[in-house]
Symmetry: D2
Subunit: 346 residues, 4 copies
């Protein structure tokens, strides 16, 4: 039974990081041990309540908010999750295992077996148990990031309304050495940075871009002034740029959150939303460590071989050339990159 | 700060029911008071954790499960929710208000203002804040009920698998005085009961029906035996009837749960699923009392007037006949019923 | 059987508008009459194909696109729908009726009975049959409108990407007499117009606002120039304002399209998205006339009475005062407005 | 311009199968050629209609239904799709390409480029363009199959109601040589058949199983009789088994249909639903041939390598052992199977 004097040292029972866990295991805040029976008779309200048989801990360690700052004025904060309370020694992974085991009626298993089950589920696309964990974030991000984010439809969102309220003076402006060039190889991308330290012309372009954003931001005062003169807020804001920050609550189950991460942590995603995805991952990992580990192994760190690529690899194994049976140059290029990553030479 | 000795008296801080709340307010289990600052500096992991400024309580009162038995062998149990921890004195309604107020950036308001806001949101179909509350149930119900239930698509479900596991011997059989006749007025319904105490013929029919179910249930041993002889479980079960019980975890946000309730607590829903809806409502009400109250006023207890019905009521107000301008007999019958409910005579 | 010479006069069989239907009924383009049997034997591919028993017509009248221009540079165009081909004399309403009748196995009914069934379904919230009709639109709208629109999650969307492509020079600018004031009564709204013809000060403010948008639009050349200097498109566009036009394909079923319309045609919706909703309704109405009629009667033109309002009306019917039993001033104001609309005096 | 006399030979313009395409290309039923201008002025209704610039054909070849029978009494029939009308020489693939190209504003491309684009989209998980194609099926299947099917939530469904209507006398019974044993290796599966020709004991068990189903089916008359005696249909049916057939309309976009197929055509799916998936694929393939081809290459025929498996393959390429760095026996077994499929020996 935890002593009162230690309960003020709130910690996240799942997070081994020293800064997050300054206290000993035994000092973790927890629910008191229930009565031995573990269940109560049906009350006069017709409801039978069962007490937890083991002490419960808050997976957020007593915090109401865990926040990481992103970009120049943004942030992402985990503000709630389900399960929030788990048996001591466990994490939110437990809710996934519990759902998967509804078919067996088993009692609690060892954590090691749980890890194996979670890996099995994720590997074989048994996705519904991962939907049993729910996450809620408070996010502040530029509008152009919000526009990419909202395309993930399986989430609940409440956004700040610029029809009701004045937008605060927050604009995203990258540093000079963060300005990205248009990729020549990839119509979508903008990965390469301007060489602001080595090339006067490129420095000039980056400066022009930042100046452009500064000048746009200068219009904020006119926006404010127009609303003061009575122009409706919903109308006045239409001249404001998409690098303005907005904010919302975003609530999503873990399965769909991982799909969000897979797409937005990818190198093809725009760098700004990628920064949010990376911070989100950092916030999630201590909550469901076995799931995130499996997701790294079977999703982000994995490789997909097409039917043609399997054939090419088979030919290689048989002493052949490993050439892809396709006349599409892009498919051949992608295959060459995979072969190299696998350590083979075609 | 709660004393350890009182913390074993777990209770639901939201539920005024005596059986659920045997202890005084001050004895409620709660999270210890955080440090005055309410926030911690950014840790070495780059995450800034904020402690709650007020003591937090478990809206489930320390219970891991609150269950109501339904039908002869079924149940519905609330097994988790989000928010699970709320500031002392509040309920899950707080998460709805918090989401709605993201536009204002306000701090905590008085509970009374919260109630007004919740009523406003529900009345004006601002549904997204109600999606910020999540509920998880463990349900055991006959397959024919599960088939109606699953049509609500905005939920996460993990069901017991009769491919993996042997189905336990649980069949739903109504009592003789619960057997329902086919309605003559309503092709869908079956509201009227057989008069088993007053009419020998009707008693006989009800007995025949219960005997029919008993005989079907008798096949359970053959199902078991066939699986023991090596017939695959996924195949052996196909001869089992839809009054067999199955079970699942069902997780859904509050907005969509209320839509489920609106449709399934309705008098047109089949009596068996209605029994589950009524139990579900009982479990939800203490978690989000202001929301459920508003839903009763603006949804289940409300009335919808069509354009033609508005016109008819206007004619009545002007001293006219209140006749509906429709030659559809069903529409006219429905209008007559509404007028009567409103206390008017056409 | 239509003559070839008449088939070039494409028309919308559902639209009585003269401009859309220059030819006689008998000249409508249609599929040839099938063989009397109405079905073919199973082919060597194992597929049995059934020919339509009646001539089929294109509900879009042979058009590949039906467009209405909206705002200064936007549009909404219906570009496809399902059903696209319907039996001659019918509309897309037929697919709703067909789905609702799956329970009866009935053959075709008279159009009049179909209308009654559709009204019944819509009145009693049997929504799934309305999901059987699908609509696809091509829309060009300002980003701030797109941001409101995308909140309707039950739709499929493909949007123009400013990461891949240069945004064309299209900005929304209202006319001076379309600039709206902030409502004092309604924090959200902006319904009242500046009196630009009567009030010099208000004219000045409206002019300031339009000038603000013109100045913002002036930055477009700098955006172009920066991309020409090599700044990535995904980055250069972040300084552009939310009154820039974007475009997308938006595909949605009829049930969810009507929910979109209910919310966005409402007087609380921002005027700009309302303009799109009104144009959308105009495009849909000829496709599913009975459904749109029912929706007008039971949704947009309807009134919702809360439990308290029913009680108040009952008291009025009984000779009482009709006062709402609420101390919430907003609820009382709303009730007074309803009473007035119904022709009663409290 | 097609001659009337040939138009009665309806065919699917996309399907090269001889039986489906008995007529020459030029004989395909098609929409008449539009006027050269390709667009009409805005009508008095404010709508500008554009005529197709090329003749349009029905991708279903004039059929209202294309059906494949499945199991003993079931079927799956394609009854509509969107796009239904496409430019002559194209297929429903065209709608995918059109959506993907909204970013470019390009005109029509050659079919070959379209195929490359579709492969690119599918390979790189750009899934939204595939949502632009919609399919509608009429399906008759046993209830236990329907229960697996309905778990795919992104679809619209209207099912036959046993509350409204009497269920017809249709039960699924496998043949003796289709009865499956419980797998010892795989708790889920039942792939192995009873050896009814070689083993008397196994024949006996298979016969027992079929007899079990026959006896259950015998209860159908009691169901009928009870409804005739006035027991409500919703209640009488609860004693009927899950091998009874039900039917529904099922409407889904192509992306989610392919996800359904990926999961249900898999060897881990129950054989009965797999039979439906295979028939569905057969019906879809002629509609969107490039998409189905790409899906075969990049999805069903593909292989996924985990992070650990990539490392193992790299070690093999470097002359090492190719051993998986995992102590999980199942993971190691799966890796061995993959290696073998790739032609390597660990």
């Amino acid at each position: 039974m935890a002593e009162p004097s230690t309960q003020s040292s709130l910690r996240n029972g799942n997070n081994p990081s020293p800064s997050a866990s300054p206290t000993r295991e035994s000092e973790a805040p927890q629910f008191p041990e229930p009565k031995p029976t573990g269940s109560q008779p049906v009350g006069s309200d017709g409801i039978a309540r069962t007490l937890s048989e083991v002490p419960m801990i808050d997976v957020m360690g007593g915090a109401s908010r865990a926040q990481i700052n992103v970009l120049d004025h943004g942030f992402i904060a985990l503000v709630d999750c389900m399960p929030r309370l788990v048996p001591q020694g466990q994490t939110a992974d437990a809710a996934i295992v519990q759902a998967a085991r509804v078919s067996y009626g088993h009692g609690t298993k060892k954590v090691n077996e749980d890890r194996g089950l979670i890996r099995y589920l994720l590997r074989h696309r048994h996705t519904t148990p991962f939907e049993m964990v729910e996450l809620k974030f408070h996010v502040c991000m530029p509008i152009f990031v919000a526009r990419q984010w909202i395309r993930h439809r399986t989430a609940n969102v409440n956004e700040y309304s610029a029809r009701y309220s004045i937008l605060p003076d927050r604009f995203y402006t990258p540093n000079l050495d963060q300005v990205r060039k248009q990729s020549s190889a990839n119509r979508q991308g903008g990965e390469e940075l301007f060489r602001v330290h080595d090339d006067a012309q490129e420095l000039k372009t980056a400066q022009d871009f930042v100046k452009f954003l500064d000048d746009v931001e200068g219009f904020y005062q006119r926006y404010l002034s127009l609303t003061e003169q009575g122009v409706s807020r919903e109308m006045a804001r239409i001249g404001l740029p998409v690098n303005m920050y907005t904010e919302w609550y975003w609530k999503c189950d873990l399965h769909n959150t991982l799909r969000f991460l897979s797409l937005r942590i990818d190198s093809h995603a725009q760098a700004e939303i990628r920064a949010y995805a990376e911070a989100m991952l950092k916030l999630i990992e201590p909550l469901a460590p076995a799931t995130v580990e499996a997701w790294r192994d079977y999703d982000v760190g994995s490789m997909h071989l097409s039917r043609l690529e399997i054939d090419a690899l088979k030919s290689l194994a048989a002493g052949g050339s490993g050439t892809l049976a396709s006349d599409n140059s892009r498919e051949r290029t992608e295959w060459a990159a995979k072969l190299e990553k696998l350590g083979f030479r075609a």
